[in-house]
């Protein structure tokens, strides 16, 4: 990862010096172990803030919509697919972005780390040869990095950027064998009542912080439906019905657009399994319409087009 850091800094420095971009969006060291934080660099002397490691979890494409300047953005595979989505939907132009693509073998899930140490505080963490060493007040654990990767990373089939202007590091071999919908299929196999109980229990935790929505690159509406007062679709109090509809509609709004970057899931402070909904939508979009979000800027967005042979067995 150290070489990737050096490469990213080099590219960023040149971009800024050549005035090819006005701003670099990348990651810098966070203030806690295993954390990094989005970093905005405008001066070439500051590129040494930029880093790359297995804690670069955020989807930086989230910072692109409505920007008018030229931006160099550091993007993992999933992030580049989000950028494609934003270009498709005219939220940013292709010319505006210089995409520094980074092949990614996965980002660590903070919640899995937390669970591994049973919520105890980690003072120090090191990544070495595929192992993560976690040190706390009275413990030192070595855990395989693969086990700590976020669920969306563990089933990722776009480790390599799908669009880029510069590629950092070497391409990673894609793992074609993993069934990315395994969890969804298991859930589908439950009875209707079991699914409802599980959904209710999970969604009832929500306290409407909107971190999921705000972390998503594709939730860029000027006025989100939850804030609409004329008409008022859902209330703002903690009523289960309102909360459920918020999540169902938000998931629906990602149809044909969500790339399963996991940003929503990672942002949620109370560990709601949001991907249970968004991944199901993604699965249906794939199976019903053979469409995969964010693969090419030439693609027409899913719900802006149709196929005369689209499935309709469910229609009376």
């Amino acid at each position: 990862m150290k070489n990737l850091t050096t490469e990213i800094r080099g590219i960023a420095k040149k971009l800024l010096e050549d005035k090819r971009v006005d701003l670099i969006v990348g990651f810098e060291r966070g203030t806690l172990p295993l954390r990094s934080t989005p970093c905005f660099v405008r001066r070439s002397e500051e590129v040494r803030r930029l880093i790359w490691n297995a804690s670069c979890e955020n989807n930086l494409a989230r910072y692109l919509p409505k920007r008018t300047e030229k931006i160099g953005i550091v993007a993992k595979g999933c992030d580049t697919r989000s950028i494609v989505g934003l270009i498709q939907e005219s939220q940013i132009t292709r010319e505006q972005v210089f995409i520094v693509g980074v092949p990614c073998s996965g980002m660590i899930d903070r919640k899995k780390v937390d669970a591994t140490v049973d919520g105890k505080e980690i003072f120090e963490a090191d990544e070495r040869d595929g192992e993560v060493i976690l040190k706390g007040r009275d413990f030192e654990l070595s855990v395989s990095q693969n086990e700590l990767l976020h669920n969306s990373c563990q089933t990722c089939s776009n480790k390599n950027p799908v669009i880029f202007d510069a590629l950092v590091g070497d391409k990673i071999e894609e793992d074609g064998k993993v069934d990315e919908y395994k969890d969804i299929k298991e859930f589908e196999a439950l009875s209707s009542e079991e699914r409802w109980q599980s959904f209710t229990r999970e969604i009832s935790k929500c306290f409407r912080c909107y971190a999921c929505r705000n972390a998503c690159p594709l939730c860029y509406c000027q006025e989100c439906f939850v804030d609409s007062s004329q008409p008022r679709w859902i209330g703002k109090a903690l009523n289960f019905s309102d909360i459920a509809i918020y999540h169902l509609i938000r998931a629906f709004h990602t149809a044909g657009r969500c790339v399963d970057c996991g940003a929503c899931d990672r942002a949620c402070p109370i560990d709601i399994d949001l991907r249970k909904l968004t991944k199901k939508i993604e699965k249906d979009v794939q199976e019903l319409f053979h469409y995969r979000a964010g693969m090419s800027v030439e693609n027409i967005p899913l719900l802006a087009t149709f196929n005369p042979d689209d499935p309709q067995e469910f229609v009376r």
């Binding site: 859930f187 589908e188 209707s192 009542e193 079991e194 699914r195 409802w196 109980q197 959904f199 439906f225 679709w233 859902i234 209330g235 109090a237 903690l238 009523n239 289960f240 019905s241 309102d242 459920a244 509809i245 169902l248 509609i249 998931a251 629906f252 149809a255 909904l277 199901k280 939508i281 249906d284 979009v285 019903l288 319409f289 899913l302 719900l303 802006a304 087009t305 149709f306 005369p308 689209d310 499935p311 309709q312 469910f314 229609v315 009376r316």
Partner: protein, 149 residues
């Protein structure tokens, strides 16, 4: 709203039918004019095209005690706005699967294509739908209740 009229055998479902103006609404109108009977459970909401339907309409209906929702548009290829129903078909497919996935009873939300000439068929669809929804019972799952104090 909290007063579910639920005494056994006396409860009747409340059904909303979103009908596209050019085909399905005209079909419903033809059913009326031709005196094809169907149960009075249905309240019709006329929309310009089936693509006007936002999933919010359907979920909000469920939130407010509606037991069955039917969305009906023109047959594919016959949309007054050329391709509205085609795009709507995609939305409906996704929404239909999502609702069933989280545990909303299959059969509460239904989609159909009814043309302006299909008065008899419309009545038939409404009769069957009312029967299906009655068998499912009152829709409780997404109903909005007062918050606990």
């Amino acid at each position: 709203m909290e007063e579910f009229r639920e005494q056994k055998d006396q409860w009747e479902p409340k059904i909303i039918a979103f009908l596209c103006n050019w085909c399905s609404y005209a079909g419903a109108d033809l059913a009326g004019v031709s005196r094809f009977q169907y149960p009075p459970n249905t309240r019709v909401i006329r929309i310009p095209c089936s693509s006007r339907i936002s999933p919010l309409f359907i979920l909000r209906s469920l939130q407010h005690g509606v037991d069955g929702i039917l969305v009906s548009g023109c047959h594919p290829g016959d949309c007054h706005y050329i391709s509205g129903n085609y795009v709507a078909r995609r939305k409906f497919a996704i929404l239909n699967n999502l609702l069933e996935y989280v545990g909303i009873e299959k059969g509460r939300v239904k989609f159909s294509w009814v043309s302006a000439a299909e008065g008899k068929r419309f009545a038939q669809i409404m009769k069957e739908f009312a029967k299906e929804v009655k068998a499912l019972g009152p829709a409780r799952k997404l109903v909005k209740s007062k918050i606990k104090v």
